[in-house]
Assembly symmetry: C2
Homo-oligomer: 644 residues x 2
């Protein structure tokens, strides 16, 4: 049925009964959802009834690479990890790179779907045509790199690729991650879902080839993309030299690098201590995902001082924010140590840093004292306390037990006076952009189907001045920001999360295809979409025009929205933390900026209109039908969410 790109098979594993099935990937699902997040969200919507407790055996956990994964397309070894998030209650979609995603394809699968829960700690070993259920009783408790090493030793397969959880996921920390190699599917508590299933690890190994349906067309499209890569100044030297961390410098200059739990943004500058250029001296190795020529993840090492010996596979920008500015810590070595510890324990660096920053503010305000912190002097800037707290969170020791579930739940447990310091949207802690000074980025936080997620509709136009058909000149203005947010969200889904491709291919705006005639932004964007549509078509054999590809983006985002709506999400959840809406930024280039409720309301109205949602943020039947997913309208109607 499939001529290339797809392996045509889904590996479905039920942990309760220790059974597995190798199901076909339906052709129309591949055509309409492409792969990755698209296919995974479609499967989740269809498989999961509403109100399933995320940490119950009934939740479903899906790992889906895309049709380009495992081919020679650069930056395509990505996968979507999709489940109902225990942190947000919404869809969790966490994306990870490395070699594991490509290996899923080599083992012969387009997706791995996990259901049920094991009675005892288990790991699954997936090869071509076979799944083995193996005891992980003895592996329970291991850090993620030890776990991977022990499994490779046990199976005598040093080339197998492994995704696993650490002690944090085992303890159902809602801010726990899944780690493959040194890469993370970090956010939204996907690690806790794996932990709730008592699934320590997934091992994959295979030798199948991912074929291309139209080798000539593929070669042409592939060369075009590679040429664009080579000419992109943001990939080379940019990301290829410094990794993504120079965003610290950019956002600091704009006055939107969050400091001290967003209470001091713009008031001081630590970019020279923890930014991408400061980190450059510590890089000892560039690491790349399978077949990626950019190789943007940097190994950085601490050579002396209290954290000597720590090697971090990172930290990327968001980690530098979370453990740096947001906690007030300016010792870059401590940030490396924190990054490594989170990777080892299987904790999301962003949510962990943000949650510690929350606790630090409570400590500064006298709401928490050393009695609550086992003696840790949890002031902003205390790197030793920050690093010590990570272990407490991973193992749920002392106050770590409360912080392990993120700021929303922690605030519920610590009392109403703590709520205003808990910065999140839909339960997901804020990323490292103070969106009081970046309206489209903020609207994306308020509306993204995963919560406050920089990875859904990243507004690079506002932040880095990249170009797009919707051009913006002023990051404080509301003009065109609703349209821009929708554009960014749909583009990201269509061009990255489904095929699957790394978000960094978007980082350069249209210069990515700068072998095209200069001057016409719209045309350049079209050339890019055309190029990726050609890549998908020539790889898979599925005819796909650029406009059809963009429609996939909108279709999947609307389906994801519908999933959330079915779980009770509506306009009241599309919001921002009170601090951002009421307290102005006090200094710097964004001084005075707030993201007022009025501003947000105005943008939401516009955004809903463009998306075909009603006033309450509920997708309308007509738009769902236009997108070819009328069955979703039926489903929402059956639950009384939309009416005839």
């Amino acid at each position: 049925m499939f001529r290339g790109g797809y392996m045509g098979m889904i590996c479905r594993i039920d942990l309760t009964e220790e059974q597995y099935w190798i199901d076909p990937l339906p052709y129309d699902v591949a055509r309409d959802y492409i792969g990755g997040a698209g296919v995974a969200i479609k499967l989740l919507f269809d498989l999961l009834p509403p109100s399933v407790e995320p940490l119950s055996p009934n939740n479903v956990l899906i790992f889906a690479p895309g049709p380009l994964t495992g081919t020679s397309v650069p930056a395509a070894s990505r996968m979507a990890v999709v489940t109902r998030s225990p942190l947000t209650g919404c869809i969790a979609m966490a994306s990870a790179g490395g070699y594991f995603p490509a290996e899923i394809k080599f083992a012969g699968y387009d997706a791995i779907v996990i259901t049920g829960a094991a009675k005892n700690p288990t790991y699954v070993s997936i090869t071509e045509d076979q799944v083995q259920f193996r005891s992980a009783k003895k592996l329970w408790g291991t850090n993620t790199s030890d776990c991977q090493m022990l499994i490779q030793e046990e199976l005598k397969e040093s080339n197998s690729k492994i995704a696993c959880i650490g002690p944090a996921g085992e303890r159902l920390a809602l801010i726990s991650s899944i780690i493959n190699e040194r890469r993370a599917a970090g956010r939204k508590g996907v690690g806790a879902v794996m932990g709730s299933k008592k699934l320590k690890a997934i091992v994959v190994r295979g030798s199948k080839k991912v074929s291309t349906a139209d080798p000539d067309g593929y070669k042409k499209a592939h060369s075009k993309l590679l040429r664009a890569f080579k000419k992109s100044p943001s990939l080379y030297p940019g990301l290829g030299k410094y990794g993504p961390t120079t965003a610290v410098e950019v956002t600091s200059e704009l006055g939107i690098f969050p400091l001290n739990n967003f209470s001091a943004t713009g008031q001081y500058d630590i970019a020279d201590k923890i930014g991408g250029y400061a980190q450059h001296k510590d890089i000892i190795r560039k690491g790349g995902c399978f077949r990626c020529p950019v190789a943007c993840h940097m190994y950085r090492m601490v050579s002396e001082g209290s954290y000597a010996g720590y090697l971090s596979c990172g930290p990327e920008f968001e980690t530098a924010y979370a453990f740096g500015g947001n906690t007030g810590v300016s010792d870059i070595s401590a940030i490396y140590a924190a990054d490594r510890l989170c990777d080892e324990y299987g904790l999301d660096t962003m949510s962990t840093g943000a949650t510690i920053a929350f606790a630090m503010e409570l400590f500064e305000k006298g709401i928490l004292s050393e009695k609550d912190t086992d003696g840790l002097d949890l002031r902003f800037g205390n790197d030793a306390a920050m690093v010590a707290m990570i272990q407490k969170i991973a193992f749920r020791e002392g106050i770590g037990d409360i912080l392990a579930d993120g700021v929303r739940i922690a605030a519920q447990r610590l009392g109403p006076e703590t709520e205003n310091y808990a910065l999140h949207v839909k339960g997901l802690e804020l990323p490292g952009y103070d969106v009081r000074g970046a309206k489209a980025q903020g609207l994306n936080y308020a509306t993204a189907y995963t919560g406050a997620d920089h990875n859904r509709g990243f507004a690079s136009q506002e932040l880095f001045g990249t170009t797009s058909p919707i051009q913006v000149d002023d990051r404080f203005s509301l003009e065109d920001k609703a349209a821009l947010t929708k554009w960014n969200q749909d583009m990201k889904m269509a061009l990255c999360d489904c095929p699957t491709l790394c978000a960094f291919i978007l980082s350069d705006g249209d210069t990515l295809l700068n072998d095209a005639p200069q001057g016409l932004n719209r045309n350049l964007t079209e050339l890019r979409i055309q190029n990726i549509a050609s890549l998908i078509s020539s790889t898979t054999g599925i005819e796909l025009s650029p406009s059809e590809l963009l429609l996939v983006g909108e279709r999947v985002n609307t389906l994801a929205r519908s999933f959330n709506v079915r779980e009770g999400i509506s306009r009241r959840d599309d919001t921002l933390p009170k601090r951002l809406m009421e307290e102005p930024i006090k200094a710097g280039l964004s001084k005075g900026a707030i993201y007022s409720k009025d501003q947000l309301d105005q943008l939401l109205e516009e955004y809903y209109g463009l998306n075909g949602y009603d006033h309450n943020g509920i997708p309308t039947r007509s738009r769902l039908e236009e997108l070819g997913i009328g069955y979703v309208a039926d489903e929402l109607e059956a639950h009384g969410i939309i009416t005839k």
Copy 2:
């Protein structure tokens, strides 16, 4: 020339000039020295002029597996790491297992000989017929498991085997080790020699087969050994179930498990907290060296508390002693953490623990204060201070800079009042047997060519009641102890360190061959020697009778002694720490025991006589000639050490 077992080649690498040569292994060297420590000590004696500064480029560092390594003989993947020790000034011979030794053979070599020193941090990659010199500038500073991972990534060879140093070896800590996989060539500062050569790592990879010269004879001898393994109660369940750590229980019962830097031996018992049975619950995996059915190295994990997350590939008995009893620490989790940290930093666990115990006693006596320890409360039993001190030693921070060179040099730097607390022989810190209650074991410490080394002539007869032709009933008595020590030293060299085989094949005394007729100890021993001689003969094609094999042991030990004598070692160095000679053990089953100077002198006289040494401990020409190494007498004569 060689029909099997040997690869016939030595890989000689000069780091100064970045050159390498593949030299033949001379037949007579193979015949007279077998392999492993034998061949390596022969090469070192011949290559190294006297008085070469151990940390200068002129020192030579040799890695030598034996003729049985890489075959299907169980427990044979061992190698001797031989150099002039910077810690003792004597020969360093440190033995390690794992997969690296076998891989040296698969790459086609019987030994790797390193000379010179690189200008900049370097690692060498050794394959069949080729050596590459690669920059390790970026790897400098990495922990040993990160280093191995990064090299495997860089070379895209996940199956290569790597021996490397950590931060401690880089900083020339004289108690630093070399780590391959999770195994250590731990003692005598071999890591510092590698560090002084700016050699971060040696990578080997090969696919050659190690053949057998007489397959039928080999099969017979191999089956016999395997059968003996299977019937041995000390291997199964013993070592195979608990690892070597149950010696804590045995020595505690005998009242010779050292406590608080040998100041409290017998005064209390912590075997139930840190012994082999206590550790059993924490074992999560058994690990074996290449082709070893016993698999005695145990992965133990800390699941909760301050050290949660630490996985230790160990600790073996000596580590439990060094970080447990000797420091007074009874928290087994802290010992696991210490063991892992030492492996990561590339520190010898025994010398590190013993050196911290020394510092603890100085702290208790008020000679050191918190001012000297950066605020660490370095009392006996303080596990947190012990663990924190390990990092200071590895990175030479604060007092760690002094402790990094072991107790002898630390005492020289800290002043004469500290000397009596520095327990060592020839600079090597004491192993975990209080030899006041074990005379042959003590004589071995005093005379072994590597210093106070449990691995040269381990007196299992005294400690575990194993049998041998020289039978002893009383561990306090001097009777037959000189002969026993010589026997143990020569047996160990002949049966283990040369072929090469793991010392644990000796652990069971003669029951190892208990398919032989019962009752005749002498005959059983002969059967064992016969078996190993047959293994070597049938593997290599070199005719070797049991008596010739034992003679190899004596030959190599006498050669090693001659090396040390050439460096100025004599009777005055064959001694024991003053504490053991003057302070009686205060409680327990060895209460009242001392190892008096008179006792030692009596045993030395006897031991020298048996070995053909003169009254000063210098080998005589006549014995050297009897052993077929008259050229050594010429050499010692040329240096005025022996006269015509």
